[in-house]
């Protein structure tokens, strides 16, 4: 059994098993969920350490189980450097998330079943090498999210949790359907382009018979599609995933969703779910429609400035801590988009690394806010104040998180944002259709974004944690003992470790990115030659 199958099966088995457990056995249910996520975490770390950057094979840890051969459908699992980093991120977030979920008291069984189903879907997306299963797992992640927010969520400012969850689900589903249409177009056109051609598959030659279709991404990636087709369908696929990233102005579901969700779900949602979009763009958009990516991504570099600056400015005007982090996420995802838009190894590697770093950082943020909210029942930062006194440990973690978010050295966010900034400086962003090439401007916006982030993060820290302690909060309980501190400590350690030794994770990511970009750079010229 390969590691990828193990990682996928652990939460799936836990989901199935939990159905049979009596709802009263809360402790047992929790232990099962924590155990399953621990297995995935160990699996993901093994994957990280055993990933071979020198391998000539693009995907490693392969597994293939036939499903519907007549449609070219099989459960194909595998990971390159990019998926590996995402799997690692998901494993850390779900492990800490299950630990944090201790505060959930209602419908414990259902909560953990849904959480495990959700995370199965997320792992499935990151590990699928099959278009159909990519989509299948994606939907599998969205539906539990709907229920988790709708049932266990809380009021977010003036929006009810039902509003939040409906909006989130509609956006995610609409985006997914849009992407699905594009993916089906690629499925047909790509398979047809491969008919009778001999290509490499898992190190061996493979010929697709005329008249058969395949969902195998490894094959479809090798089809060279006409430029007109790619340019027409890339925006469809991209916009579908852009809803999930979320790109401005399609972002409005995300802060509200963050704010309404219970802690563990917020962590998964902001930490991992948003990365599904960027991952989809990279794996499917860049992988299957490289010429389209080359053609269109210049515009994205402009739009992402709106993400960065606008998201930051809105965060500055928020008073609810979860909204601040929510808009901050949308601001940070702007850096990811900028990195992706560079189409260069440095920028895209930085973007993927930032997806990892931001996922860990936001998970930490929501875990901390959730911890405090469970006791104070308010998230408005002006109601807090001087929390450092009753909560020295949580407060310190929060300050560390704020530093990481503001892009300070020593944390993975800085290293990755630096790569994005350096990578985007020399890139020229061609605005397709206008003949204009934009330079420097997006990078300057990104650097200014660091100032904006610093401003609202430090302001939040000052208002919430420093100053006179509000007497209402004198009696708050700080995290005591190893089990309470573990999730926070673990996330901080990951941020610091990858921040100090970034090459440990940059190397595999770069390996994966390079393989993707090899096909993107110069793809337009190749595609022009095809009818």
């Amino acid at each position: 059994m390969s590691l990828s199958l193990l990682i996928l099966l652990a939460p799936a088995t836990a989901t199935a098993y939990l159905f049979t457990v009596k709802p009263e056995r809360k402790g047992h249910i929790r232990r099962v969920a924590i155990g399953a996520s621990l297995v995935t975490l160990v699996g993901a770390i093994l994957m990280w350490t055993s990933y071979d950057p020198a391998s000539t094979e693009k995907y490693q840890f392969l597994t293939e189980i036939e499903w519907a051969p007549s449609l070219g459908l099989a459960l194909r699992l595998g990971a390159d450097g990019i998926s590996m980093a995402m799997v690692l991120l998901t494993a850390f977030v779900i492990f800490t998330g299950t630990l944090i979920s201790r505060a959930i008291e209602q419908h414990v069984k259902e909560h953990y079943i849904l959480l495990m189903a959700l995370v199965t879907g997320v792992f499935g997306v990151f590990l699928s090498l099959d278009l159909f299963f990519f989509y299948f797992f994606y939907e599998m992640a969205v539906i539990p999210m709907f229920l988790l927010i709708g049932v266990w969520g809380s009021q977010a400012a003036k929006y009810s949790k039902e509003y939040a969850t409906m909006k989130l689900t509609l956006y995610l589903t609409a985006g997914a359907v849009l992407a699905l249409v594009g993916l089906l177009a690629v499925y047909f056109k790509g398979s047809e382009a491969l008919w009778g051609q001999t290509v490499k598959l898992a190190g061996e030659s493979f010929t697709l018979e005329t008249g058969t279709y395949t969902f195998d991404m490894r094959l479809l990636e090798q089809a060279v599609l006409p430029a007109a087709f790619q340019n027409a369908w890339f925006p469809v696929v991209f916009l579908g995933f852009a809803c999930i990233i979320p790109m401005w102005p399609l972002h409005s579901w995300s802060p509200i969703g963050h704010a309404a969700a219970p802690s563990a779900v917020s962590m998964l949602h902001a930490g991992v779910l948003m990365k599904l979009g960027a991952y989809g763009v990279l794996r499917l958009g860049y992988g299957l429609l490289p010429a389209g990516a080359e053609h269109w991504m210049g515009w994205v570099a402009l739009l992402c400035c709106m993400n960065i600056i606008y998201g930051g400015m809105v965060a500055m005007a928020q008073r609810d801590m979860k909204f601040i982090i929510g808009f901050s996420s949308s601001s940070h995802m702007g850096y990811v988009l900028l990195g992706l838009a560079t189409l260069g190894v440095t920028g895209v590697t930085g973007a993927v690394f930032l997806m990892f770093a931001h996922g860990i950082m936001t998970a930490l943020a929501f875990a901390l806010v959730g911890y405090i909210y469970d006791q104070t029942h308010t998230r408005v930062i002006d109601d807090w104040g001087g929390l450092m006194k009753p909560l020295p440990f949580v407060g310190t973690c929060f300050v560390i998180m704020a530093f990481a978010s503001a892009g300070l050295p020593g944390f993975a966010n800085f290293a990755s944002e630096l790569l994005v900034i350096v990578g985007s400086w020399n890139a020229g962003f061609e605005l397709a259709g206008t003949g204009i090439t934009v330079r420097y401007l997006p990078t300057i916006a990104a650097i200014w974004g660091l100032v904006v982030t610093g401003t609202y993060m430090l302001r939040a820290v000052r208002t919430a944690f420093y100053g006179e302690t509000n007497p209402r909060w004198e009696g708050l309980r700080d995290a005591r003992g190893w089990s309470a501190k573990l999730p926070f400590v673990l996330l901080v350690l990951v941020l610091a470790y990858t921040g100090f030794f970034p090459h440990l994770i940059v190397e595999p990511i770069e390996n994966g990115v390079r393989a993707v970009l090899e096909r993107v750079n110069g793809a337009s010229a190749l595609a022009e030659a095809v009818r």
Binding site: K167, P249, H251, S252, Y310, M313, V314, M316, A317, Q318, V345, T346, T349, G386, M388, K389, F403, G407, L408, P409, G410, F414, A415, L418, L419, I421, V422, G423, W425, N426, T443, I444, I447, W448, L450, V451, G454, T455, L458, R459, R462, F465, Y466, G467, E468, T469, P502, H503, V506, E507, E510, R514
Partner: protein, 623 residues
């Protein structure tokens, strides 16, 4: 040797982390000792390097390696050992050691002294990173780290809102400056293809930049200077430094007087090849602009120091003013002179701050000079060491400041920056005036406070005496320092004391002292009269030229308005408009369809059915 440098660099970090993560260790007496040991180690290392390193040494490791056979980017961490970095290391090590030890006494009784030393050690780590950095990105990384440790230390008394606010201000002002700095780094990188100083210098000297417009080069150099201006608190980024005095006094002494604020000067000296006096390419007028900013800062800060009542604030403005001198010297191309002034200034300013700390400690945390006075007898050691520091600062022969300041004046004169020369000579007089004011108000007259003052313990006066000796004697080494730095390639030309300039400036300084003696000792009421005679000017100085108020207005009104506007845009246009609009449109479309077509009348359905069939038939026939 470079291995030793690496150890020296990371030792404080290890100490900081260890103190940080182990609560038991943090609470014990071991924490301060460990932190002090690391900084003493840096001092010892600097002495070792001073005597054993003759040729520049470098060692680099790839931090993030994205190289391809054809190109790609590598982000390196590296240490460089040359005369410049060793001199700076010496300053950080010597002054740092004295201040770390002083803080033992000053912070006594503080329950979280371990936390203090952890942050202090973190700062030393960041500072050493800047000192050792051999490339732009590494210096940027540690630049940011210094910003963080500064934030943490200024906000050390986190229950005090003003302290936290000051820390935030320092951090954000530096962030804005770093915005320019990073763009400057990227520009230089684009022009020369490297982040490493030696590569860039080679590229510049090999003529890689010929053909690039002076405007581009000037902008790049200016942006690098912006970064330096942020850390070295040059106008218009100077506003954070006086507020930073909210931190504990040892912090003010080490970071906001001696070392961290000098980082900008050090960085410019390190990257001198970007500033137009070498390499034979025109870097625009970046150097002249830099000198101008320096001169402006020196003068404005000196005038603002005249009206301060907080003893630490006086010293803070004085620091600004002296940093202005250093930047002026940099602008004039006298890098070695600037570094020399940095060194002497580090000693005497640290000394003055520690004396202020001793006064504050002895008078039970009273910093307002209007409630001090007459401490000459009560605190003799502090008084005498302060006097030495003051003489050094104002440039009385033969104290340290005399030599370094006169060399700067000399450099300005030689570059024929006549306006700046006059301004800085005038500033020398003002320096004497405000220092005399502080001196008389603090140590002479009657004691105006409530609690009985007392001399500080040995652990505090010891460092004072050590620094006083350095301040008094450092000037004599100017020849040695020059000789030492002359082996460093940034040394452009050797300067010597110009006797006529020395006499003129000494005369101006004496006038300053005389005025100080008259207005603040002999006839204190006269000072009031003068202030009342020029109310507008007095108010202008009290309000710090309204620069802080302007920034506050920008932040409170402009920035917050934009933020609120964005939020309203988000809520009204995006959420209610776009998203809500889609929902409303869908609902309205459904309603319309229902009312128009879903009437429930069978005959109507039949008509529609017929129309559909007819249409299909037509389509099939026609196509």
């Amino acid at each position: 040797m470079t291995d030793l440098a690496w150890i020296c660099l990371f030792a404080p970090l290890v100490a900081a982390v260890w103190i940080g993560v182990s609560p038991r260790f943090r609470a014990g007496a071991g924490a301060p000792r460990l932190a002090i040991a690391t900084v003493l180690f840096a001092f010892v290392c600097s002495l070792i390097f001073l005597f054993s390193v003759h040729e520049p040494l470098q060692s680099s490791i790839a931090w993030m390696d994205l190289r391809t056979p054809g190109g790609g980017i590598v982000i390196e961490l590296g240490v460089i050992l040359d005369q410049l970095s060793i001199l700076m290391l010496l300053v950080v090590g010597a002054v740092g050691s004295a201040i770390f030890i002083f803080a033992l006494g000053y912070m006594k009784g503080d329950p979280s002294v371990g936390r203090f030393y952890a942050k202090f050690a973190l700062f030393v780590f960041s500072m050493l990173g800047i000192v050792f950095a051999n490339n732009f990105l590494m210096i940027f990384i540690f630049w940011e780290l210094v910003g963080v440790s500064s934030y943490l230390l200024i906000g050390y008394y986190w229950q005090k809102p003003s302290a936290v606010e000051a820390g935030k201000k320092a951090f954000l002002v530096n962030r804005v400056a770093d915005f320019g700095f990073l763009i400057g780094i990227l520009m230089i990188w684009q022009l020369t293809g490297s982040f490493r100083f030696d590569d860039i210098q080679q590229a510049v000297e090999a003529g890689a930049l010929t053909g690039t417009s002076g405007w581009t080069l000037g902008l790049a150099a200016f942006l690098i200077f912006i970064g330096a201006a942020g850390k070295s608190a040059q106008f218009p980024f100077h506003v954070w430094l006086p507020d930073a005095m909210e931190g504990p006094t040892p912090v003010s002494a080490l970071m906001h007087a001696a070392t961290m604020v000098a980082a900008g000067v050090y960085m410019v000296a390190r990257t001198f090849f970007c500033f137009g006096w070498t390499g034979g390419v025109s870097w625009g007028d970046a150097a002249e602009v830099m000198a101008l900013f320096g001169g402006l800062t020196a003068f404005l800060a000196a005038t603002m120091a005249l009206v301060q009542n907080d003893i630490k604030k006086v010293l803070a403005y004085s620091t600004l003013s002296q940093l202005g001198y250093m930047v002026m010297a940099l602008g004039a191309g006298a890098y070695a002179v600037s570094m020399f002034h940095l060194t002497t200034h580090a000693f005497f300013k640290a000394l003055l701050f520690l004396c202020a700390g001793s006064v504050i400690y002895g008078c039970h945390h009273e910093q307002d000079m209007r409630r001090l006075g007459g401490l000459r007898k009560k605190m003799p050691v502090t008084f005498w060491t302060f006097t030495v520091g003051m003489f050094a600062l104002t440039g009385i022969f033969p104290f340290a400041g005399f030599w370094s300041k006169d060399l700067i004046l000399d450099a300005l004169h030689e570059r024929e920056f006549h306006g700046l020369f006059l301004l800085s000579t005038l500033t020398a007089g003002l320096t004497a005036l405000y220092m005399a004011r502080a001196w008389f108000m603090t140590f002479f007259g009657k004691y105006r406070g409530r609690a009985e003052p007392h001399e500080s313990p040995r652990v505090m006066t010891g460092p004072l005496v050590f620094l006083a000796i350095c301040s008094a004697s450092a000037g004599f080494f100017y020849g040695g320092a020059q000789g030492y730095l002359s082996r460093w390639q940034g040394m452009v030309s050797e300067l010597d004391i110009n006797v006529s300039i020395a006499i003129v400036s000494s005369f101006v300084v004496l006038i300053g002292y005389a005025a100080g003696w008259y207005f603040f000792f002999r006839k204190p009421e006269k000072a009031e009269t003068v202030a009342r005679r020029f109310p507008a000017l007095h108010r202008l100085l009290l309000h710090k030229y309204y620069i802080d108020d302007f920034y506050l207005w920008v932040v409170r009104s402009v920035q917050q308005t934009i933020a609120v506007f964005c939020r309203l845009f988000e809520e009204r246009v995006i959420v209610d408009g776009m998203v809500g609009g889609t929902v409303r449109a869908a609902r309205r479309a459904g309603d319309g369809l229902r009312k128009r077509f879903q009437t429930g009348r069978i005959t109507q359905y039949a008509y529609v059915f017929l129309a559909g069939i007819t249409l299909l038939v037509i389509v099939m026939v026609v196509l």
